[in-house]
């Protein structure tokens, strides 16, 4: 509970700071010209650093979790993806994990009914998690229309698809609605379910709140406090071409949006959000279960003290002879 309150407090302090920066035009230069590059540099180097730090530890043993029939006798039907025996299977397995959250799809819940545990399907976490992550990705990709000129056709196509239903003016993007649903579910679940609240840390709440801040200010900018998009794109293109210019007359909400985004860029590599990179390195998922067929080499495999047969026979020779067991030395 304390973690929840502190993260809400931290989020509001951050929002107030953003508000202050938005109101105080003397800080506009810092926010527009210096902070974006710093934040982006931290994201890049931080991400790479974290991956290299994980990667610098070797994988001594081949420890995939097998979730299907392994490859053995030729007439036994194997599950080449859930229990991969080669590189293609691993690629398929990883793709399922990354794009479809395969493991989370297995989720069940349990309740004691009539003195017996009963397992129920619990796909909501999977569904809302997937909704959140995919819409987040789509939103980021859609934003590329501000960052490239001319706009690549696929970006336009993505936006058109996302705004397919043409609800309202400007069009409501489905991904915007979806991310709100996903975020709300993930946050409420953390707050309402006692077990999840019990395990939640500051970073768990704060990450969700921060992204919610980005999403909310973004949506406000689009639908309620419209910004001059021409100026917005000019600003973004200024960053991309290393010639940023402080735009005139940009709304307060838009400033807050920028502030939250920059904090997110910095927060990302420093926090649990790095699970985005970490999943690629997970040894229980990214290795083929062909251990007996192909030897895995442990780089630090060191000799150990063993109890040799000679020592064993020396201790038990008489008994072995008495039982008629063959011995090496009479």
């Amino acid at each position: 509970m304390k973690n929840l309150l502190i993260s809400i407090l931290a989020f509001f302090i951050l929002a107030l700071l953003a508000l202050g920066i938005g109101l105080n035009h003397s800080l506009a230069y810092v926010l527009i010209v210096i902070v974006p590059y710093a934040a982006f540099a931290i994201l890049l180097t931080g991400f790479v650093y974290r991956i290299i730090k994980w990667g610098s530890a070797p994988v001594p043993f081949r420890i995939p979790s097998t979730c299907g029939q392994g490859k053995s006798l030729p007439w036994i039907k194997t599950n080449p993806v859930e229990n991969p025996s080669g590189a293609w299977g691993v690629i398929g397995r990883m793709a399922q994990e990354i794009f479809l959250f395969r493991s989370l799809f297995r989720n069940t819940d349990v309740a004691i009914v009539d003195e017996r545990p009963v397992y129920g399907s619990a796909k909501w976490l999977w569904f809302c998690g997937l909704l959140f992550h995919w819409s987040f990705a789509i939103i980021v990709l859609r934003h590329l229309r501000f960052f490239v000129e001319p706009i690549a056709p696929w970006i336009g196509a993505l936006s058109a698809l996302d705004g397919f239903f043409e609800i309202g003016i400007p069009t409501l993007y489905l991904s915007d609605a979806a991310i709100l649903v996903g975020l709300t579910f993930l946050f409420l679940r953390r707050v309402v379910v006692p077990q999840v609240r019990y395990i939640s840390l500051f970073t768990d709440y704060f990450s969700l709140l921060l992204i919610a801040g980005v999403v909310t200010t973004g949506l406000l900018t689009r639908h309620f406090f419209p910004a001059d998009l021409n100026a917005a794109k000019t600003l973004a293109m200024g960053w991309v071409t290393f010639s940023p210019v402080v735009p005139q007359g940009i709304s307060l909400v838009f400033y807050m949006h920028l502030c939250f985004v920059f904090v997110l860029l910095v927060w990302f590599p420093a926090s649990k959000l790095m699970h985005a990179g970490g999943i690629f390195l997970s040894p229980t998922r990214n290795l083929a279960s062909n251990n007996r067929g192909k030897r895995h080499v442990n780089p630090w495999n060191a000799p150990v003290k063993v109890h040799t047969y000679e020592e064993y026979e020396d201790e038990f020779r008489d008994k072995m002879k008495a039982s008629g067991l063959p011995v090496e030395k009479e």
Partner: protein, 134 residues
């Protein structure tokens, strides 16, 4: 630790950096100036006061919502006249009012819309004066 395999990790990181820096290399660093909107039409040239229905910054930021209210008012309530904040009265008509001044859709509307990837659905119904004659 000579057996340590960096290949896949390095490949992954390279892909990550390429993807994340997409805007930087996609445009090849070329600076492209923001679109200049042309107000050079005969109708605008004749105006004494170069003023749209509302002031420029409002029109820039909110013309889409504004036109939306025009559309809804005209179609659903038959409101055919709009009184601007300064008291001037306009006929509620995209082709008749907006495009009368901004008769250069390609140099005015489209430039900005293309720059921002906005695809308004106005012209899927409304005809564009002049274009029909072509």
């Amino acid at each position: 630790m000579k057996k340590h395999q960096w290949g896949m990790i390095a490949l992954g990181l390279v892909i990550f950096i390429i993807v994340v820096t997409f805007p930087f290399w996609y445009g090849k660093g070329k600076t492209s100036p923001p679109p200049q909107l042309s107000l050079d039409t005969p109708a605008i040239a004749q105006l004494k006061e170069k003023r749209c229905v509302e002031d420029t910054s409002f029109m820039r930021e909110s013309h889409m919502k504004f036109l939306g209210t025009w559309r809804d008012g005209a179609i659903r309530e038959g409101k055919r006249l709009h009184t601007a904040r300064d008291g001037r009265v306009f006929e509620v008509s995209l082709s008749g009012t907006c495009l009368k001044c901004h008769s250069n859709k390609e140099q005015f509307c489209d430039r900005c819309h293309n720059y921002l990837g906005a695809k308004p659905s106005c012209f899927s119904c409304h005809n564009i004066p002049g274009e029909a004659k072509k």
